[in-house]
Subunit: 406 residues, 2 copies
């Protein structure tokens, strides 16, 4: 067999990107006949279309030419100031607008932080499991992942042993309604985490896309405020994707000034700046307290959807299956009996027109637990949730009766 | 003196980013009393604010929820199809929408191409001088630049010797009204370039942000169409920044499918996708031929502005100064007598309330010609152009009379 020579050579990092089998399978889930719990999409019912339309119209009519011109890499000043002030809600009272950098969605923040901190082989600490999109972003910079021990209460600060933290470039953590598990770090662990990281000089990247979507339990202070008090370096990522709409691609990074300064230079080389019009329109939407009235409705919607799924699981899942009960966010995490491989379960589920994301790709720096899977409950209507969960329950039960070997 | 240890370690690449002296100086140029020829900003007069506002309103009213939801990484399908078809105007008739990837402005394309092609030490060929933003993007991936010999007709294909092209990951070229020089590659050189690159297996990155802004001379076929015919790998970058407005941050990459496939994975890790709403609104704006009526007005505006500057230079610049006469775009390039350093000239110019960008930072992989500078003519009103050029002419003349040594 002759091989045609490629007229180009990709970088080492690009050669290492492989087309994930999961992604190929999940493409199928976009077919309308599939009941998909695989997506990470927020519920479009929650998008304030009219308010956003009015905001775009106001901005373009009043400041059209500025809104359509290049803007500063740091972001639109009034939006940076809004973010800085808003952080008081998560217990960080003293944030300056100059510690805020506007980005094109949190995913871009992850890419920029990869550029900032990761050399090939650098140690990076991640929860186990962790957010797949972060692992994909960081991986382009070829880190050596180390998993931090994690249980149903989130990451275990005592697992940050001297050996584990040594020379770590950062720890990446999602304290609220984590993706993929839906678990939340309690106050005691938050305090222990920031103290340990302050003492060990490990920066914390606090990714909090879902914090505003709490529909049970009590608000907890974020790692940013706790960390500042404890002398830790905390870099907080926030986004408007879940409180307004993801199609805007708007997020932000909060960090100490020397880190922001470097990130501004990196952002300039990455995409110059985030769309001026979008920043101005989002600021126009939220500047007079819109989120205070909008968010309760979104939370109620998500709470209801979560309830539908929990009720259905209780009814249809075999008794040897366990799952998390999230206090907010979009996801829950299912642990199957140890002998069931969720990759195989997915194949059968798709044949039966149901989809989810198997747990394996969420693990880095540790042997994956292949008997786990992630379910998203926010976009599927109640009846379809019941139908899909019933199907999954049946397939799981069948896995325990020897059908797997057939 | 004691040094406080940093509680974090940046990557090698981030440590190498230095705050450019030029950037610090140019910050001054944002003061309103400065006549600035330094900017790279298009003229806001040319932004079709009303058409864009109508488009956003239509999209949000008719498809608000889709426009605000996550979208495919490849981009909005109708916009990809529009771009593919539009390429016939530059002589590429057979482009499939699947060879088009939508990005958040051309600058992002440069970042993604750096990720795709550059390992530390990889040889990258650039024009001499070349676009500063590209050099900044690529530099994050630590290439070894090699300059391709360039004259007032653009890059010289005969300069692509065997030694120079060997193991080059790509050549980066701006064939139309180049930034910074304003020069255009003639048809003969275009053909020679794509033939040489086809034969030497060097991919060409054709960056063409200004191609639609031609106001003199005749349209020439782009490297994409010529390259395809000659068997070269051409990756073409386009943008809506200059034909509509830069604050939207919308551009595109055209490339062979295997390259697009890798870039899609890279883009997913970089920012998931470009804002759905922006893509839909831009498509809504241009889908019925808007640019055919809009662009002539923009071209006329730029032609006029360019004329103001050329006239003023003719009148006020000493006879030993030369400059390019662009057929389009936003910039022209000035060559001073060899003994004048444009960095020093800038210091004196700013004291006299005029700014430009000195030539030095545009050079990579070669000794910079420090007696050069870039002028942008598009945003400054006629009288201010005359005033600023008169001041510059005087300062240049003074440089020749020994004042430099004072």
């Amino acid at each position: 067999m002759s091989v045609t020579p490629q007229p180009y050579t990709f970088s080492q990092r690009a050669q290492k990107i492989t087309s994930s089998a999961i992604r190929e399978i999940l493409k199928v889930t976009e077919r309308p006949e599939i009941i998909s719990f695989a997506g990470g999409l927020p519920a479009p019912k929650g998008f304030p279309v009219d308010a956003i339309n009015t905001a775009f119209d106001n901005v373009l009519r009043q400041n059209g030419r500025s809104a359509l011109q290049y803007g500063p890499t740091e972001g639109y000043a009034p939006l940076r100031a809004w973010v800085a002030q808003d952080l008081a809600r998560v217990g960080a009272n003293d944030v300056s607008p100059e510690e805020v950098l506007i980005v094109s969605g949190s995913q871009q923040a992850l890419d920029m932080l990869g550029k900032l901190f990761i050399d090939p082989g650098s140690k990076v600490l991640v929860e186990s499991p962790s957010y797949l999109g972060a692992l994909q972003s960081f991986s382009l910079f070829e880190p050596a992942y180390q998993a931090v021990p994690t249980d149903l209460g989130g990451l275990i600060p005592k697992g940050l042993t001297d050996e584990r933290v040594q020379d770590a470039r950062f720890i990446y953590a999602l304290p609220n309604f984590q993706n993929p598990t839906g678990t939340t770090l309690n106050l005691e662990r938050r305090k222990a985490l920031v103290q340990r990281c302050a003492q060990a000089n490990v920066p914390i990247i606090e990714d909090d896309p879902y914090g505003d979507l709490r529909y049970a339990g009590e608000d907890l202070p974020g790692l940013l405020g706790l960390g500042r008090a404890a002398g830790a370096t905390v870099i907080r990522l926030g986004t408007f994707s879940k409180v307004l709409a993801p199609g805007l691609r708007l997020g932000y990074i909060v960090a100490p000034r020397p880190i922001i300064a470097k990130l501004v230079q990196i952002k300039q080389a990455t995409d110059l700046h985030t769309a001026t019009l979008t920043q101005m329109a989002v600021y126009e939407t939220i500047k007079s307290g819109f989120l205070k009235t909008h968010l309760p409705a979104v939370r109620e919607l998500y709470k209801q959807q979560c309830g539908y799924m929990l009720t259905a699981m209780q009814e249809f899942f075999p008794s040897d299956v366990t799952w998390t009960k999230p206090e907010g966010g979009m996801f829950l995490w299912v642990t199957l009996p140890g002998h069931i491989d969720s990759n195989e379960l997915l194949q059968r589920a798709i044949q039966n027109k149901v989809a989810f994301v198997p747990g394996e790709p969420f693990y880095a720096g540790v042997t994956p637990q292949t008997n786990t899977l992630r379910l998203s409950f926010v976009t599927v209507p109640e009846e379809k949730i019941r139908e899909g969960i019933a199907t999954l329950g049946r397939l799981i039960a069948e896995s325990g009766t020897g059908l797997k070997a057939a």
